[in-house]
Symmetry: C2
Subunit: 204 residues, 2 copies
DNA sequence: CTATTGACTGAATAAGTATTCAATGATAGT
DNA sequence: ACTATCATTGAATACTTATTCAGTCAATAG
């Protein structure tokens, strides 16, 4: 009286779950959450609609899983740059490179976040269980710590307000994704980095 | 054998149509097109669902009316700055002031556009009858003309690529709206303008 | 007063889509 | 071989929501 052994079962489960999340990420990123049908995700994953409900309670629950990964990986990029050894200028380079790379590899994440951010369905994120203030604060703090170090080292003039710089920096990064999709990444990285550094007031 | 006279009828019509567009603009901007129900717009306008279909063929047709106004008014801001008299530096100031003012007064438009741009439902705009390439090009050209003049006048170093500057500029402006909603407008206008000018490589 | 027109209503309809669930298939211990 | 277990299926269900339409109302010319 026993079924498949534990290991295989576990393996199937993690595999299917990952397949579904990847399919959902792809669909949400390319067509936007509200334009994607559960049937689309199932087809993309090569599974049935019913299976989705074996792993996720609802379409929103699926979105939650996708977004969770997204927030985490973006946060990691920022935190890594802030924690990197070296002077402020090196950390800034680290941050810019990391974000450019993230924009290329993790472009699906950014697309999804953008497609949701536009919808000021205020409590959508809250309903999903995300504390956006806390998440945003985490990102902000990483960049802020680099900028204040840069001011201390005289790389950025002291008269600039670091919080304002951080906001503009995030605005620029997300805005390029918003307006130009992947297209902005075809600009030379040096041009992009130079622009971001100018925005931040970095003296060359 | 005759109804209400023409003038009154016409008046009712334009009034109701404007009311509906305003209601739709408000709803779309605050909750995002896909989260808004026709019933919501009707309630916001204080009219019945049926009335909407007296004036608009469909929900999309209503969106089209709202977006048409949006594109036009944003284009006007850019074109006005480009056509203003004076040197490049003055035109840049004109542009920045215009956009900041637009962001405050016409914030609903920007929110709606953002809520739609996120959805890479490629042909949505085309289905609505908008040629996005042409519209985007119009905006780009206005800014581009100012930037090339600025380079000719030595206000911006010649080594910068004006198209890249334009893209980053649009990215920054839209990104601030995307990430921070109206909140970014509480930063001092001088701080914002200074940041934008730095991004554009303007020498002070 | 009355007939005619056109704006307007809101309940009914039609379409679309998230979710459920009874049935199936696969596996492995007995 | 048998059976318990659990992932999986996909058609049926339940629900949401855009759209329709038969009818109401207000205004006015005759």
């Amino acid at each position: 009286m026993s079924p498949r052994n534990k290991e295989l079962s576990e393996e199937m489960r993690t595999h299917s779950r990952a397949t579904l999340i990847a399919a959902a990420r792809h669909c949400f990123a390319t067509r936007g959450y509200f334009n994607v049908r559960i049937a689309d995700v199932a087809q993309q994953a090569g599974m049935s609609q019913g299976s989705i409900y074996w792993y996720f309670a609802s379409k929103e629950d699926l979105l939650k899983a996708v977004l969770g990964e997204a927030f985490e990986s973006l946060g990691a990029v920022m935190a890594e740059a802030a924690a990197a050894p070296g002077n402020a200028r090196q950390k800034l380079d680290h941050l810019l490179s990391g974000l450019l790379q993230y924009a290329q590899e993790g472009s699906q994440f950014t697309s999804i976040m953008i497609s949701l951010m536009g919808h000021t369905n205020e409590d959508m994120f809250a309903r999903l269980g995300f504390d956006m203030d806390a998440i945003g604060l985490g990102y902000t703090e990483s960049v802020l710590s680099i900028l204040t170090q840069a001011q201390a080292e005289g790389v950025i003039p002291a008269e600039h307000n670091p919080l304002a710089l951080t906001m503009m920096f995030f605005g620029l990064f997300n805005g390029l994704n918003l307006v130009y999709g992947q297209e902005w990444l075809s600009l030379p990285p040096e041009t992009l980095k130079a622009g971001m550094l100018r925005l931040l007031g970095v003296q060359n």
